[in-house]
């Protein structure tokens, strides 16, 4: 199946709930490119070569050596390169076209809520509108280049945004995401109805959704989810 191997390229600096992160260091730490390339080489040297690699851990467009990292994956014959990103940087300059040209085939967009709620939760003013503009730029660049690019989403939930989960899913659906992972590790059982609403919002918008860190009860309402995770491993 489509197996993405997860490779950490740093830590911190991703779109996360600022209230939950209070007190921890917000500054990202970037893993040196040599380390990353060594890990990618190990991945690329496997037989068969994994279908794809997912670069995550920090906002990838903040990593000063992202082009070299993506290129290393491509040089190893890995055909799918996914970046987990807040997508804001894709709205700037030539980033979207450059990312595609370098070999990025898939973006996994992290969204906590829609519009100003996303800004408020992340503590980054204008991030939501930059995300929307970035995704659009990426899609337009792919279309202009005649390339097929995949868009998926990730909605990390906590007690500060669980009631906004459906809004985030609806926004991702409107942007064209084909699948959304709803992270429920930090969701209390009392808030499950919001998760159901998010799953239903995905379903009626034609988006496949599943929960990561799910409750037992969820597998009964989203019965495909466990198979999806097995079928399209998308860490």
């Amino acid at each position: 199946m489509i197996g993405y191997r997860r490779v950490l390229i740093g830590e911190g600096g991703t779109a996360r709930c600022s209230a939950c992160m209070r007190g921890s260091t917000a500054a990202p730490v970037f893993r040196p490119i040599d380390d990353i390339v060594r890990e990618v080489a190990l991945v690329g040297g496997e037989t068969p070569v994994p279908d794809g690699v997912l670069f995550t851990g920090c906002e990838p467009f903040s990593h000063p050596q992202l082009p070299g990292i993506v290129d290393a994956a491509r040089q190893m014959g890995i055909r799918r390169v996914c970046l987990r990103t807040d997508a804001g940087a894709l709205s700037k300059g030539d980033n979207a076209r450059g990312a595609l040209a370098a070999g990025v085939t898939h973006i996994d967009v992290v969204l906590l809520a829609d519009s100003e709620d996303h800004d408020r939760l992340t503590g980054i003013r204008g991030l939501a509108s930059a995300c929307v503009a970035g995704v659009r730029a990426f899609k337009e660049a792919a279309e202009a280049a005649g390339r097929r690019a995949a868009l998926t989403g990730r909605v990390p939930l906590c007690r500060h945004n669980v009631h906004l989960a459906a809004h985030a899913v609806a926004r991702l659906a409107a942007l064209g995401a084909v699948a959304v992972c709803i992270e429920t590790t930090h969701v209390r059982s009392v808030d499950l109805t919001h998760v159901y609403a998010a799953l239903d919002t995905a379903a009626v918008n034609g988006v496949h959704a599943w929960t990561d860190g799910s409750f037992e009860a969820l597998s009964r309402t989203s019965s495909i989810a466990p198979w999806y995770e097995a079928a399209v491993s998308h860490p």
Binding site: I2, R79, R80, R148, V178, A203, V207, A231
Partner: protein, 424 residues
Amino acid sequence: MKTEVLKVALVGVATPGYRSLALDYLEAAVAADPRLARVATLRIDCDTSTDPWWTAYRVLGLDPAPDVVAMPVYCWTARHVFEAARVVKEAAPDTMVVLGGPEVGPVAADVLARHPEVDVVVRGEGEFTFPDVLCSLSRGGDVSSVPGVAARVADRVVVAGPRPDCANLDDIPSPFPGRAHPTDGSAYLETYRGCPHRCAYCFEGKGSTRIRSYSWERIAADIEAVASTPGMTSVSFIDPVFNLTPERLARMAEILEPHARRGLRLHTIEVDIERVDAAQAMLLARCGVASVETGPQTVGRRALTACGRAFDRERFAAGVKACREAGITVECDLIVGLPGDTIDDVVAGIEYAIGLDPGIVQLSTLHVLPGTELWERADELGLRFDPEPPHELIATRDISFGDLRRLEELGRAAASVYRARVGP
């Protein structure tokens, strides 16, 4: 109805990305029929992306007004056609509405009973029945006695006797030589009718495995006419199995290779992939085939049995590999909701298809089509579907409504992520 000149509007309603050959064949059949010298035809091409009222608007705007409006109907276009026909009939009650095609032919009497706007339904192949209908109309005769039609007579539905399928396809006038061709650089062709398989969900074989082929002279002439059209770059053959026999494929390669060398490419050619080996893949490449379309539709044993399909995992995989090695993209099709399939079977099918790395994986949900075995046996097999076209599946005995929808989304997501890659 008896007029000086019988004015006939041939109205084609296409779905975006697809085009039916039916109207081309009907147009050619009418033009070639010496009995129809006093019949004037005018063609209108529409598609389902526009409102059916605009289709009606174009018909009703014709001056002089047509005596007959004829429209081929497929499950994808049926709602549009019925709506347009209803508006036309309301505004111009004397206009005779004639429908044909797989969506209405097998259930002609029912269509006439449920759609008062429809006057005549042509059952089965229309290339001889439709000219007979026009001939009868132009002479003031009784349309309902024409073999192969069902018609409304006063308030009754009269079903005439059947018309056998045309035994010699060369008797069907070709729509290609000397006629205007589409200018978008692509065209459809057929070399035979019928299907060697009898899949329960498909109307292609119409319950028979009989194959009727055009002569090689006719095939070569049609190909030459289409391929030599200026700007033509892409051809799709609608033959249900392009590699029907090795000998036939070799002959097609002989005919097509010169055109392929000039850049003509064949897209979404349906093949029996389990019969494709290195030699057949090479022949396909010589034909200029860029992409083929194939099953497996399902890997579930119960569904395969219920649908009368054979499936050999190893041979299927070998066929995909042979095509890929010949530089041919393979589109693996899967149908969600076949009788007997469970959620596990559908997911196993997705896993299997993607695991072959064919190039494209496409999932679609079952449509229970009129005239198919599944249509006849739906209750017995536990299929719940929308009786209105396009007859989408609502639920099966093994998969709920919600899970069918979620499987559609899973399939769409998996196919999208699979296709987003660098390289072949």
